[in-house]
Symmetry: C2
């Protein structure tokens, strides 16, 4: 059965791949699973049919037969478990460590990056903008520094490419919009390695095509 | 083999259970797994021996034989997988939904709660405090409202108590420090049901005992 995911009908980042459907598209491409996409307007996301799938009115969701999931991390983990050895190592300890990196990406690395990103969008004209920004920068820098120190000259976070890398690269993609990521050349190179994967390229092109079509209409 | 977790030697919340070791202690109690605790000072958390276990210099960590994990969500998931049927349903779809709620707790519900909490601690004396607070309140309220609408009169998020509830209750515990949670009586009651579980009570007492001992010395 071909699963169906949801995505923005009109990408708020203009197709730069920051929508969280990108993570799920990428995982689907990595495991070679074809999928359908149902596009939603911002108003449709807050209406009962979608809220029945996603209580927080966001994208992506994932439907496959009788199963309906939300949260990009959970969907990526589900896909990884369905295809052993591709996005999660078969070895039990290595598998647990890859899952640790998935949680680390969404719960430790992403929050300061996302907070800074929203701040620069929503509060740029506020009188406190210049005074508050350095502390947010430092919060992001602190996490990137720790990640950079850990990564060193590793190719991926822990041995072979895993769902942990998929999630971490996706989180770093947002940091690339700031000048902070380039302060850590090994992280910038790690991000580039993720972006260079054929599965990433296919997923990126697919979400960009949605944006391109939406602006042509 | 008895696993060892790490926790704060001196709890910054004065034993109120907000430390993320609480989530792991609670999961260990739910599955009936005895554990050891290694207490760390704030300076020890930033030194090489601990950074080798946890690249971001935080607690908790989890060590068991050759396996070393960090991130409370990943550790709770690991424990749940080790003890099928207790913190994760055996049915595959129900299991995937419980994991969805785990990610939802840490990636969708926790960030606005944590951001507001830190703001009230770190920026209370800033000139922008009163003007910025309402937007942060509204961010928290928005998530709580959506969660409350979903929960309705359910006892737990999806059937039996799961690791998803364990994580969500832990995240709501921090919101209890604000006046916002009580605006949603069904969420306050849900939190109380979590806190009333014997395993929660044992975990809470254990982390409180560390704080009590640290202040008696």
């Amino acid at each position: 059965m071909t699963p169906t995911i949801t995505a923005f009908a009109r990408s708020p980042d203009r197709g730069r791949g920051l929508g969280r459907d990108m993570r799920v598209r990428w995982a689907l491409e990595e495991v070679g699973q074809p999928y359908n996409v149902r596009l939603l307007s911002f108003s449709e996301m807050k209406e009962p049919p979608h809220l029945a799938l996603h209580p927080f009115g966001q994208i992506p969701t994932y439907e496959e037969g009788g199963l309906a999931l939300f949260e990009s991390g959970a969907i990526v983990l589900h896909l990884a478990e369905r295809h052993p050895g591709l996005l999660l190592p078969v070895d039990a300890n290595a598998r647990a460590r890859a899952i640790t990196w998935m949680f680390s990406a969404v719960n430790t690395v992403e929050p300061p990056i996302f907070e800074r990103s929203l701040f620069t969008i929503l509060e740029r004209d506020k009188p406190w903008y210049q005074e508050r920004l350095p502390a947010l920068d430092e919060g992001v820098r602190n996490r990137l520094r720790q990640l950079s120190t850990y990564l060193g000259d590793r190719e991926w976070l822990d041995g072979q490419f895993s769902a942990g890398d998929l999630m971490m690269v996706s989180v770093l993609l947002r940091a690339k919009q700031s000048p902070l990521l380039d302060e850590f050349p090994n992280l910038a190179a790690y991000l580039s390695r993720g972006e260079a994967r054929p599965a990433y390229q296919r997923a990126f092109a697919a979400q960009l095509a949605v944006f391109t079509a939406s602006t042509a209409s």
